[in-house]
Symmetry: none
DNA sequence: CATGAATGAGTATTCATTCAT
DNA sequence: GATGAATGAATACTCATTCAT
């Protein structure tokens, strides 16, 4: 698992220092969204944060380092609007909770919403992953949060006979997570035009069909 | 549709000129695979092609321009090992040709093989798409070759009742193409470990299940 | 004679202030020995003294200024292990004190010991001398302490006929001091390998021969 | 023995390239003499050579690298005006050639002249030696050219009984070379005032006395 | 007095691009 | 056509110094 270490160990910062640091991270996010990681300049980040250009180096050693921190914040955002929730199970229905299909639908909806609302950040995340091994590792860590949840979810469906037994939960979780993330990518960043409700509906159908989940009815 | 215009129209080149130009394109591919688009330098391309630094500008105006030409060659490679062949149809079976499921399996196998064999090029292709709108457009063009074929394929399956009617062929084609391409990406470039035959089998199951294609039996 | 003025006149410092100031000078010596004058940074000196960055400027105006103070401490160290003692004279022998040759031997031994034990400081002293006129002046002052003593020593030997009359005491004192200091430099800092007792013996022979000092016997 | 390697292997340069490169080396010498190695800037070297500032990097990778080349030129200059010539031997006298004492006098005169005429370069050479191990190694190499010659010279004098047998030629050669170089240093760079002919005469006396060389008469 | 955050002048370095030969 | 020397804009990064708290 790739680590999110800060080379500059966070010394004790005064409140003022903490504020400046936070300003820089926020500014970096703005600049990265606007220019991408590659084309962004440290000068612009400092300008955006309204601090002098040398101040950047008081808190960060490089563009890579501040980028890691911005990535971390994206990860949190995306995980919240994530895939099938752990607690969603088949037997949950009688309790008045969501059916597996409803659970999947809700997770897919939230994922697409989160992607749509943060798509400028998602593209720099993708860009970063093409730049070096370390960033690819961070992306993998994030992906595992999704695939892990889906895999456990499918496994549970199989136990109750709700999903096909000849589907491999590991492969399926990766494939279906891939489907969701790439679909969102080509939609929000690749220029394809889709209708939101139809997308949620169709992706949910495909997801459920794929693992052999029978209709609620 | 994104255009592949060469600002420098290919004037009549002497045989020697054609050779030098081809050397440069080949060298660019090598360098891009090694360093990625962002980190590559024109100097290195010229060195690799064993021509002088300035010669590059006799044939190309910028790194972007030669990159387009390299991309074009990747596109050709990937399309050959592509998705469900147009001609593969359900009724083809009686003729002794492939069943829809076999056709999908074959297409998926070829796609994964092509991706595996060209993954260094795929990552620079992905990188390019994160850099600017134009390259994203080129990527979209290429994607449409795949989704178009899949969409027509699904439509035909629906006509014969072999696929579910409530699946939208356009959305499904995009989603399943997304699944394939992203799965291949995380596999060959993102560090995930999968077994080849299992991957072909599972992805084919998911693909067929998703569109509601009944078992061959 | 170069002056050792402190631009910031030592105002009345509180005991706490004196302590901090002394810490800084000690730290500076450590850092200079480790990194040399040129490569040393005020940040490192402050860190080494365990005071904040800005505190440095409470006591010193620049790296040059604190360096002068460190130099002063080296000078004291080197003078103690110095050249022929004033009181050592030829006629001292009958009193049971040292013969001129013994006196020279003892002074040379002490000088080499002092150089060996402080060679890290000597190199920064030499470095400083190459940097600007002022430091060269300080080095000259220090040198005159040695050459002055030697010159008077040689003059006294000539008075009693123990040294050649055609040797100019001023030139000889400078030349022989030069021999000692440069020999020590190439030995302890320049990478030459010598044996200590042999070095004392040979340098003393050369010194005595040079001024025409007859053998004790 | 320290090597004088150029990291950038000298490719085949066109006459124009050779000219520019030579201009840069000449300019570097001028700038180093004026500002010293530490305070010199690559920009100034380029300006002095009347080339653009990027051109510097066409030929050199760093200030250190061009400095090595300048040092090499100083070394050549100093060696020519060097220490006791190899061929000068005692028995040479009858042939009408120089006596040992004359030979030493001539070598000393030449050395002092060379030092005087190149003293600005000598100080940067000394400065360099205080900066890092590599430059100290280069200085050591150069020193050995002098001490080697002197050592062989003294050995030959001892063989004929012209010099004292209890003088160690190796130690003596180093000590007397040290005397010469440091005397020249304090004279031409350290601010001491000496008269040229007296210096040659006195240093020669001291040199000869030191090794026990009898008067010509 | 001590702190440490903020500053910005100064310098190195890269590399796409031009152009005379 | 081919060459490769020359260019300089662009940018990163360091570190001495100031100053509000």
């Amino acid at each position: 698992m790739a680590t999110m270490s800060n080379e500059v160990p966070e010394r004790q910062l005064t409140p003022r220092g903490l504020r400046t640091r936070a300003q820089l991270v926020g500014a970096a996010r703005t600049i990265f969204e606007r220019d991408g990681f590659v084309a962004s300049r440290i000068t612009d980040i400092a300008d955006e944060a309204a601090v002098s250009h040398g101040t950047f180096y008081t808190y960060f050693e490089s563009k890579e380092q501040i980028f890691r921190e911005v990535l971390e914040s994206i990860r949190e955002v995306m995980l919240d609007g994530g895939q099938p929730a752990e607690e969603a199970t088949v037997e949950a229905v009688p309790d008045g909770r969501l059916s597996p299909r409803e659970s999947i639908a809700r997770a897919n909806r939230r994922y697409l919403e989160a992607y749509r609302d943060n798509c400028q950040l998602m593209i720099i995340w993708e860009q970063a992953a093409t730049l070096n091994e370390e960033f690819r590792g961070l992306l993998a860590d994030s992906r595992h949060s999704f695939t892990g949840r889906s895999e456990r979810f499918i496994r549970r469906l199989q136990v109750t006979g709700a999903a096909q037994a000849d589907i491999d939960p590991h492969y399926a979780a990766h494939a279906l997570t891939a489907m969701m993330s790439r679909f969102a990518y080509v939609w929000f960043l690749g220029g394809e035009r889709f209708e939101f409700e139809t997308a949620v509906d169709q992706l949910t159908r495909l997801w459920c069909n794929a693992v052999g989940l029978a209709d609620d009815a």
